[in-house]
Amino acid sequence: MSDPANPELDAAVAPPEIPTMHGCPVTDSLGQVVLHPSREQYVDVVKALADEGYAMCIDLTGVDYLQHMGRSVGPGVSPERFEVVVNLLDITNRRRIRLRVQVPETDPTLPTLFDLHPGSEAMERETFDMFGVVFDGHPDLSRILMPEDWIGHPLRKDYEVGMIPVQFKEAHS
């Protein structure tokens, strides 16, 4: 299956050895190009891609793979509990690329993209709010969708639905 928006895709995945781009493995997910940078490579790779034309950070979100650790990740990449997924768009060459960064449960931090893509500011706040991934260097990492004194991160898989204590004063909870 080839994606007409990504004519270079077939060339990028064709070689039998592990294809890499900017030093990190590239895989193909249903015709879409996916990069698997490590946390250390992350910002540099996004920067290199921005220089290549991927000037827009269209989406940034997280996934908690607690109940699905056996998923397929890029060759040579060890799966961690959290994944931050970044979708970049190149409007000059009309192509997309996706980055999947593994973030371990013990140290859920990742450098911020704020300096490269200021638009990622709100999306990083949302990812922090929902998954508890801390973005180092983010100028204002407060909760964005939940109230600022909320406890827990709702989109984590171990966040129990329906276990919210009654938040009225004087009430038995």
Partner: protein, 440 residues
């Protein structure tokens, strides 16, 4: 529940005396190629805090011009807006979490309620992502594809007509509010005839659409195509050419192409700056590459350009709808794949297996192969994207919707800076946010 990381701070806008240059930089949105020192230079604050004449006020969440429950904290110096911070989440209902517990068949009912002004686009992007995971994205019957295009273009019209209404209302052209809602209602009447509901249709489903077009649909669409151009001409008389209208919008809420790209803005906001980026033309989906239409761009990036773009996009959508009428093929309206399509109603009466099959599809749903996929399409507000990660079960492991309003709303601080507080209303209106999608 372990609460390791609680919060990193308050959401509210802080008084000048308590903020750093970096925070200021973020809040004014002046983050483009600007050092912290330069941002500090921007600070129009006197060095002596006692002489600080600024005032922080709340606008919303209960304010008629905020289109729902958007709360803005504005820092004013006299009537000038210095800083602005959108505070969102008042409509957050955890729809992405809900989406993890709904089968792919039920998921449409969830996503359609996010951007409630363009429900078809949300259903479409969710269905396209599911179909890509199932590997049936190339097998959707032609009639279903053209029906999807018809509905999403009519939806673009109804959404932009509502923008005309609210934009007029926010700026004091109150009669415009009635006109805009009136024309939108005409389109919604057609939706009701096709889907049974005015909004939140759950009509576009993985595999096709829920039902065929009703008898007489062509006449209804032709009636719309006759009616709307006259009404748009009336809008032109009432608003476009009027000096008052132009004064209120021209030069208000200006954003440059570089800023729009860096902030991730899409849709009419990006196009108003002169960047001709429309996914329908540039990364075509459905059969948009087979119809002729123009991508409307502005040149100044102000509120007037955004108004004019939307007005003309209604005309372009009508052009597309006219071509769809000519090309609408006969045939199936959903894929004949037993896995995702329930059996025809008549079969259920005569066949036990069909009854069981029908029951299983609507209770258990269908299993979707493991994988992850992102699909983005052009909604009336910009790029609406759907990221689905599947673990091979009948519900998405993770379902994320990239709402264009959520990102576009982050341009507000940038557009408002240095403007008048009276223009703040015009700027919010020109961004056309839908809070159901911002908060999800």
């Amino acid at each position: 529940m372990s609460a390791t990381i609680h919060t990193e701070g308050d959401q509210e806008l802080k008084p000048r005396s308590q903020i750093t240059a970096r925070e200021l930089m973020r809040e004014v949105g002046a983050v483009l190629r600007m050092s912290e020192a330069e941002a500090a230079m921007l600070g129009d604050l006197p060095d002596d805090p006692d002489e600080d004449q600024t005032m922080v006020i709340n606008m919303g969440p209960q304010h008629p011009s905020t289109h729902g429950v958007l709360r803005l904290m504005l820092e004013l110096q006299g009537e000038t807006v210095l800083r602005c911070k959108p505070i969102i989440g008042y409509l957050h209902t955890g729809m992405e979490k809900t989406g993890e517990n709904l089968s792919y068949m039920q998921g449409g009912t969830n996503v359609t309620r996010m951007d409630y002004l363009s429900p078809f686009n949300n259903e479409l992007v969710f269905s396209m992502a599911t179909e890509k995971l199932l590997g049936i994205d190339g097998d959707i019957p032609e009639r279903a594809v053209w029906m999807r295009m018809l509905l999403s273009e009519l939806n673009r019209m109804s959404s932009h007509l509502l923008f005309m209404a609210t934009n007029g209302m926010d700026l004091g052209a109150v009669s415009m509010m009635i006109y805009g809602w009136r024309e939108r209602e005409e389109v919604l009447r057609f939706f009701q005839k096709v889907t049974g509901l005015r909004m939140n249709h759950n009509f576009i489903r993985p595999g096709g659409v829920a039902a065929d077009l009703p008898p007489g649909w062509r006449d209804d669409v032709l009636h719309l195509l006759d009616l709307i151009p006259e009404r748009l001409a009336e809008y032109d008389i009432l608003m476009t050419g009027q000096p008052l209208w132009r004064e209120r919008l021209q030069g208000v809420g200006v954003i440059t192409p570089n800023e729009a790209l860096a902030l991730g803005a899409t849709g009419p906001i990006l196009r108003s700056t002169g960047v001709a980026w429309d996914l329908r033309r540039d990364m075509p989906y459905l059969h948009y590459d087979e119809v002729e239409f123009d991508v409307i761009v502005g040149s100044y990036g102000d509120a007037f350009d955004r108004y004019a773009i939307r007005l003309n996009e209604i005309r372009e959508s009508m052009k597309i709808v006219g071509q769809i009428l000519d090309r609408m093929p006969q045939g199936d309206y959903r894929i004949q794949d037993k896995k995702v399509t329930p059996p025809p109603r008549a079969r259920i009466d005569e066949s036990m297996e069909a009854l069981i099959h029908h029951f299983k599809i609507f209770t258990e749903g269908f299993k979707v192969p493991e994988g992850e996929v992102y699909v983005g399409i052009e909604s009336p507000r910009g790029e609406v994207g759907c990221y689905i990660a599947s673990d091979g079960s009948a519900t998405p492991y993770r379902m994320h919707v990239r709402g264009p309003s959520f990102v576009n709303i982050q341009c507000l601080p940038h557009m408002m800076r240095g403007g008048l507080v009276a223009d703040a209303v015009a700027v919010i209106s020109s961004v056309d946010p839908v809070l159901g999608e911002v908060d999800r």
